[in-house]
């Protein structure tokens, strides 16, 4: 039977572990800067170099960001959580242990809704836990011959680890989970969530079972995933590998697999399973982290509107369609920009069309961000008013928009300066029309003979001649008279 058929009999079961770097100024346990691009080992101090006698002190802002993230994905933030030592030797882990959280994590029991199944039922992925920990330094293997180079600038950068339940059933769901999570984290501004820059990292626990089975199969952990699409492809590949094994009567080994982006394959890492024994125990240098209910509630109250809420509101408040809403709420900045325009102008549909067309088009073309964008929402709204009120034609509106892009000027001023105010004085319109009829004698003749479909051609030519200023309705009337 074909691989495809074979795969149909099996179900993919996936849980994701996502590491997210928190956007703090300083490291989680010392006052060293977290900025990138510094010379090697420059952002280090006695604490993050693990010098003998140095001690960790927790960064309050890291706790706020971690709690904010946990609350945004519906977790319960625990009033008492405990830091623990995860003991292992590696040159980029200077203390010989990572300060993390183990049996008493910061938060537990959340969920993320990532869309709907074919039958319309919501797809909800449960989140087991969110815990805080410190990042490791960087080991660079290709810098020098014979030796590896260690840079501890990143060591001690605050991380949260978000662990999902094995609720994910397909590569697409995994991709959706990651995109929704990334969008939420962007909205609450806790991280740059950039997988390429490593501020978001993903490991996947994958197993396969016959459809209908309820027990979990043996899982393999897939690492070295460095893009969302990579995650999806890696899951498919690992799933097929396991299904091939199982349906041939073999069994899956509990092991770590490494995703090879270029070769589009997974390879077992050299790690012998069981050689891991992290000997977790409570970090004696840090008493239990105690958070008051008031503090936790405040963090919850201070959360900004989240993507799902904003999508619902855009539907009810502006009556926009699903597609428009998805585009406009993709990122918090664009959504805020659209709302500013819609509120100031009054017609959300028109605002949506301009933002999705002109604004997004321009941003995509130039690759710039809204923060550096020349056209302020209030000015765009004014332009839309001018078009609506017939002060300028739609065509002229587009020209004015291009001027605003270049100069950032006010639409009203540009309209006057560039002479783009709509002209409806009959004499001027007639004059333009006569010129056009003279330039296009054949068409003029046929039109007069009653070939009214030529009206469009003639109006177009006249609009052109008027540099978009002519009022097309009036032109139509004038032409109408000619036709009789």
């Amino acid at each position: 039977m074909t691989t495809a058929r074979m795969l149909d009999d099996w179900e993919m079961v996936v849980g994701l572990e996502v590491h997210v770097q928190l956007k703090t100024r300083t490291k989680i346990f010392c006052a060293c800067a977290t900025n990138f691009g510094a010379a090697p080992n420059v952002n280090t101090c006695p604490v993050c170099l693990a010098l003998p006698g140095a001690l960790p002190v927790l960064n309050a802002h890291a706790v706020e960001l971690a709690a904010r993230a946990a609350l945004a994905i519906n977790c319960t933030v625990n009033p008492t959580s405990v830091f623990a030592r995860k003991n292992y030797f590696y040159p980029d882990s200077p203390k010989g242990y990572q300060i993390s959280q183990f049996d008493k994590p910061l938060a537990t029991g959340g969920f993320i809704d990532i869309g709907h199944r074919a039958d319309g039922s919501p797809i909800r992925i449960c989140v087991t836990r969110v815990h805080m920990e410190e990042d490791a330094g960087k080991s660079i293997h290709d810098r020098f011959a014979e030796v590896s180079a260690i840079d501890l600038n990143r060591s001690g950068t605050p991380l949260i680890e978000i662990v999902s339940e094995p609720d994910i059933r397909s590569a697409e769901e995994a991709g959706a989970y990651l995109r929704v999570l990334k969008q939420i984290l962007e909205y609450i501004e806790v991280s740059d969530v950039n997988m390429e820059e490593g501020s978001l990292r993903v490991d996947a626990n994958v197993s396969a079972r016959r459809r209908g089975e309820t027990t979990l199969g043996t899982k393999a952990e897939v690492k070295n995933l460095n893009s969302f699409s990579g995650v999806e492809r890696a899951l498919e590949v690992e799933f097929s590998r396991q299904v091939a094994l199982l349906s041939a009567g073999g069994r899956v080994e509990q092991q770590t697999m490494l995703w090879d982006e270029r070769a589009n394959e997974v390879r077992p890492s050299r790690t012998k399973e069981g050689s891991h024994d992290y000997r977790y125990f409570p970090e004696p240098d840090l008493p239990a982290l105690i958070l008051s209910t008031d503090w936790i509630n405040k963090q919850r109250d201070d959360l900004p509107e989240l993507p799902a809420q904003r999508r619902a509101r855009f539907a009810s408040e502006y009556g926009l369609g699903a597609y428009d809403i998805d585009v406009l709420t993709a990122g918090p900045r664009l959504a805020e920009y659209f709302e500013a325009v819609a509120r100031a102008h009054g017609d959300p549909k028109v605002a949506a069309n301009w933002v999705m067309g002109e604004v997004l088009g321009q941003l995509k073309a130039t690759g710039q961000g809204l923060d550096s964008f020349n056209v302020r929402p209030a000015d765009l709204a004014q332009l839309l008013d001018l078009v609506r009120d017939g002060v300028v034609s739609h065509t002229a509106g587009k020209q004015i928009f291009n001027h605003m892009l270049a100069t950032g000027g006010l639409p009203s001023e540009i309209a006057v300066r560039e002479g783009l105010i709509k002209v409806d004085d009959d004499a001027q319109l007639a004059a333009w029309l006569d010129e056009v009829l003279a330039e296009l004698p054949a068409e003029a003749k046929r039109f007069r003979k009653g070939e009214t479909k030529l009206q469009g051609v003639l109006i177009g030519a006249t609009m052109k001649k008027s540099k978009g200023r002519a009022d097309p309705k009036k032109l139509a009337q004038l032409l109408g008279k000619l036709a009789e």
Binding site: N41, V57, P91, S139, H141, V147, P287, A288
Partner: protein, 102 residues
């Protein structure tokens, strides 16, 4: 729970302590003697007794998210065993060598 030579080899590996078989054999004896005294604990009733962790029951103090960090009176390269171009050097690792193998 008597410790075997395999246990000693395992924990010596976890602790990255090189050890000859002779030494390991001696250690087995020493650790078993010491641990035999620990068995007294198993007799103690501790149901529902809190573990004495987080010595400061007052909770964990935090610092504000600001610098500067504590300065070093001497730069890293003056005391690190092997440094080049600001990097700390260690014997070559394979790209995806995991901590368990290191």
């Amino acid at each position: 729970m008597a410790i075997t030579i395999e246990d000693v080899r395992h924990i010596a590996a976890l602790a990255r302590l090189g050890m000859t078989d002779e030494r390991a054999t001696v250690i087995v004896g020493e650790l078993n003697t010491i641990l035999s005294h620990m068995d007294a604990l198993s007799q103690v009733k501790t149901e529902g007794v809190q573990e004495a962790i987080g010595v400061g029951a007052r909770g964990l103090p935090t610092r504000s998210d600001s610098g500067p960090p504590m300065p070093l009176e001497r730069a890293l390269h003056t005391f690190a065993p092997s440094v080049r171009e600001g990097f700390l050097l260690v014997p070559r690792l394979s790209t995806h060598e995991s901590p368990a193998d290191a």
